[in-house]
């Protein structure tokens, strides 16, 4: 059986990797300086010349890039390639002012597909497997990312996309899917649906799952593995870097190998920005050393994790990252969708309501749930239950529109929620991770 997709990279020596990384970084820095005015200005302000970056160890000299920089240059301000070279656009889930648009050249798509293909092989996938993709297809990178990865490997893609869980179960049986790709909470849900429909998962061909786009625990892994009778592997990615495939788990299932020939990782102190040594927890930062369309320097992911550099039983030499502990900002990931509390505020203001709210995230039957508590006001209140229910419906529909996720609206007593003075508790996350 094939153990690696690209053994020459995945098992390369540290020296070989460093050489590759250094060459790519030099080229990247030059392109950023010449083609992205934002970076040129930053370099000039810092008194930094592209020639100052001689090898990968100089990466710390480069300026950081934050999510806000992407928003400030929305949509294409940080792109380094002319339109005729762009092949694809993706966008992170979000709304006005929150959405970030990313672009790919053919080379970028190839790199991404290659990265995802490595992940599929690490999960035991081969050319002769049927890869069932239940991530959403569209602007979200999940669906097409794993799709292209499976195609790159030469496996057979079953592009199911998300939703219609009964049909998912039917396809698992009828089409004999070998590998399932979706969010972990959806995998859980599919597992529960199998049980409900009386499908014996031990008797279907499915043997592995590649799950990502939201944080999940070891407990959840065990649950999914039991329910679906498979091995469950984590995959990490973010659209700003490319999408799923930035890092992936191998047979050891302890930490994810980073495709560091393309995405150079650092861990920094989230407050000071100072680099932290291996093994220490801090904010994960990526420099997309081979990226063409959107070549980000030291992009701050806001994910908190550690880098692990020790020999892995799978034979890969690529550095590993621990499962992210949490996030540095207020962004929530609910069912794989990015949700910002400020989006809820936006909706309430749009409906001419007071922005007093609280978001309660929980996990019911292993599927994330979101409840938005909103204070009752004279304007919302009515003597009729029917009218209040209609108002709740209106808010709920407006939230769904903006967040792309259904949220239950609950009206509570006025002045019963914490106020925004100081640090208001806007989010209560009850999910036990």
């Amino acid at each position: 059986m094939q153990r690696y997709f690209q053994p020459e990279i995945e098992t390369a020596s540290r020296e070989q990797l460093r050489e590759l990384q250094s060459a790519r970084l030099r080229d990247l820095v030059r392109r950023c300086y010449e083609r992205v005015p934002f970076y040129k200005q930053k370099f000039d302000e810092m008194g930094l010349q592209p020639e100052d970056i001689r090898n990968i160890d100089d990466v710390y000299k480069l300026p950081f890039t934050c999510k806000t920089d992407l928003r400030d240059h929305f949509p294409y301000g940080l792109f380094a390639e002319p339109r005729e070279n762009l092949i694809r656009i993706h966008a992170s889930s979000g709304t006005t002012g929150k959405q970030t648009v990313v672009g790919y050249t053919q080379h970028d798509l190839d790199v991404w597909a290659e990265s995802a293909a490595r992940a599929i092989v690490a999960a035991g996938g081969t050319k002769s497997d049927f890869v069932h993709v239940s991530y959403g297809y569209g602007l979200f990178t999940g669906g097409l990312g794993l799709h292209d990865g499976a195609a790159k490997l030469g496996a057979t893609v079953i592009p199911v996309s998300s939703g219609n869980t009964k049909r998912q179960v039917q396809i698992l049986q009828d089409f004999q899917s070998d590998i399932l790709c979706c969010t972990p909470s959806y995998a859980m849900f599919i597992g529960e649906m199998c049980a409900e429909l009386g499908v014996d998962t031990a008797k279907i061909p499915l043997r592995a799952g590649i799950f990502g786009a939201e944080p999940w625990s070891e407990n959840m892994r065990r649950e999914i593995e039991k329910k679906l009778h498979i091995k469950a592997y984590d995959i990490y990615g973010l659209s700003e870097i490319c999408g799923p495939g930035v890092a992936f788990e191998c047979s050891e299932q302890s930490g994810m190998h980073i495709n560091e020939d393309h995405f150079y990782p650092e861990i920094v102190d989230p407050d000071t920005g100072k680099p932290l040594p291996d093994g220490e927890y801090g904010e994960l930062v990526f420099t997309c050393i081979s990226k063409q369309a959107l070549p980000l320097l030291r992009y701050r992911t806001r994910d908190i994790c550690a880098l692990i550099r020790k020999e892995c039983s799978c034979g890969r030499t690529l550095v590993k990252m621990s499962k992210p502990h949490g996030r540095t900002d207020d962004m929530l990931i609910i069912r794989g969708i990015n949700v910002f509390p400020s989006q809820v505020e936006h909706v309430l203001l749009q409906l001419q309501m007071e922005p007093n709210y609280q978001i309660v995230v929980d996990r019911a039957g292993n599927l994330d749930t979101m409840e938005v508590l909103i204070e009752m006001s004279d304007a919302t209140f009515s003597d009729s239950v029917k009218n209040i229910a209609a108002k709740e419906q209106e808010i709920s529909a407006a939230l769904q529109q903006i967040l792309n996720i259904s949220a239950k609206v609950k009206l509570v007593e006025p002045k019963s929620l914490p106020r925004s003075e100081g640090k208001a508790v806007r989010v209560i996350d009850k999910r036990k991770l």
Partner: protein
């Protein structure tokens, strides 16, 4: 005659009813009649009291969501068919009732029924034409 009813938003959590009733008590408000519309998350407490304006002010001061709703109060004889006759008067004119609740007059064999309809004027006319006794505000507040 339109009667003023207090409609109060009460979240379903321990102590809320106690709080509302305590505010009324300490403001010397007498409750004449009461009904609750309940849902899974909250209830709407509907009250007929002796001094609606004073009760409204007291509750608002305490940051409670409350509004005054115009309802109709009728008096019906306390015997079988009494209520049926009054309702028929309304249904004959296609007037639908959103909600209603009733209580007995402690002084004689009459029942009072509070009616919430969409169009008070139309309902009042129908009741008048049907010879149903409509209560005045003062009669209800001062039982």
């Amino acid at each position: 005659m339109i009667i003023k009813q207090l409609s109060i938003f009460v979240e379903n959590k321990a102590g809320r009813m106690a709080e509302v009733t305590q505010i009324l008590a300490s403001n010397n408000i007498d409750i004449r009649a009461l009904s609750i519309a309940d849902t899974t998350d909250y209830g709407i407490l509907r009250l007929i009291v002796n001094n609606p304006q004073k009760a409204l002010d007291a509750l608002k001061t305490a940051s409670i969501t409350v509004t005054l709703t115009g309802v109709i109060a009728i008096a019906i004889p306390d015997h079988p068919g009494g209520l049926a006759r009054a309702i028929k008067v309304l249904s004959d004119r296609q007037i639908s009732i959103e909600y209603m609740y009733a209580f007995l007059n402690p002084n004689n064999a009459t029942a009072f029924v509070i009616l919430r309809v969409e169009d008070n004027e139309k309902a009042l006319q129908a009741l008048q034409d049907g010879n149903i006794r409509i209560m005045k505000e003062s009669e209800i507040y001062e039982i």
